[in-house]
Symmetry: C2
Subunit: 123 residues, 2 copies
Amino acid sequence: MLKNASGHSNPDEESALFKAMAHPVRLMILRELLKNPRCVTAIHEILDVRQPNISQHLSVLKNAGLVASGREGSYMCYYLRKPGLVKTLFEAVEAEWPEEKMENVRNRFRKALEERLEAEPIR
Amino acid sequence: MLKNASGHSNPDEESALFKAMAHPVRLMILRELLKNPRCVTAIHEILDVRQPNISQHLSVLKNAGLVASGREGSYMCYYLRKPGLVKTLFEAVEAEWPEEKMENVRNRFRKALEERLEAEPIR
DNA sequence: ATCTTGTGTTCGAATATTCCAATATTCTTA
DNA sequence: TAAGAATATTGGAATATTCGAACACAAGAT
């Protein structure tokens, strides 16, 4: 998942996922779905966003593989396909992270730079 | 951090972070910086992307608070401000996540729907 | 079959993003 | 201080995203 055939990370697929999360309304939808599966109208009323717009955002989330839906009576039930992923991403973003300082980076930078200059291929 | 004054999650700030990660080149830059702090030219050569474009993407990452930079001799040293955050996000995205099935969601949906219909305020 | 409610789609305008070419700017070194 | 290397900025074209309005479609109730 999110790796290409050769087992390496895939910037295109991954950026597609982040792009799907790159909108406040979509984040609010995902947060809501983290609590409960919801129908379009419920989301519409909870978020104070027009219904067609909610549908559009849900469509983006669905194309990104973040949500799925199934009809439930007269409602469309939207839910997270991978709640664990979404939960983890939110928690990561909410957490406090230690800040890296320039002083701590300096030596690693110089070393990496030297290595790169030695390795310098043709030029 | 990434919470507003009232301590709640902040969709606008959070989506800004995801937006910064919503581009394959920026993801590649972040992955590179996860290994080592780098100067612009090094990134430029490693990624085969034109230098002004690299600068532009770095600027986006900097505005999002994901990277910082400091001059080191004649080079600009770019590094991750919160390596832990970036690492965690990549790991989350690369991991295998259990898929939620419609059957598992159905009952929760119905219950949530009933609650919502009862709570129905004015209308 | 019609009406109502819930949902999805389409079109177009406004805005934002992305990238390149060209040009600036900033250091370092001669 | 002039040259050169490293990096940043700007302007503009191409493309993508966003959102509302209007409309289309689907299912259940009457």
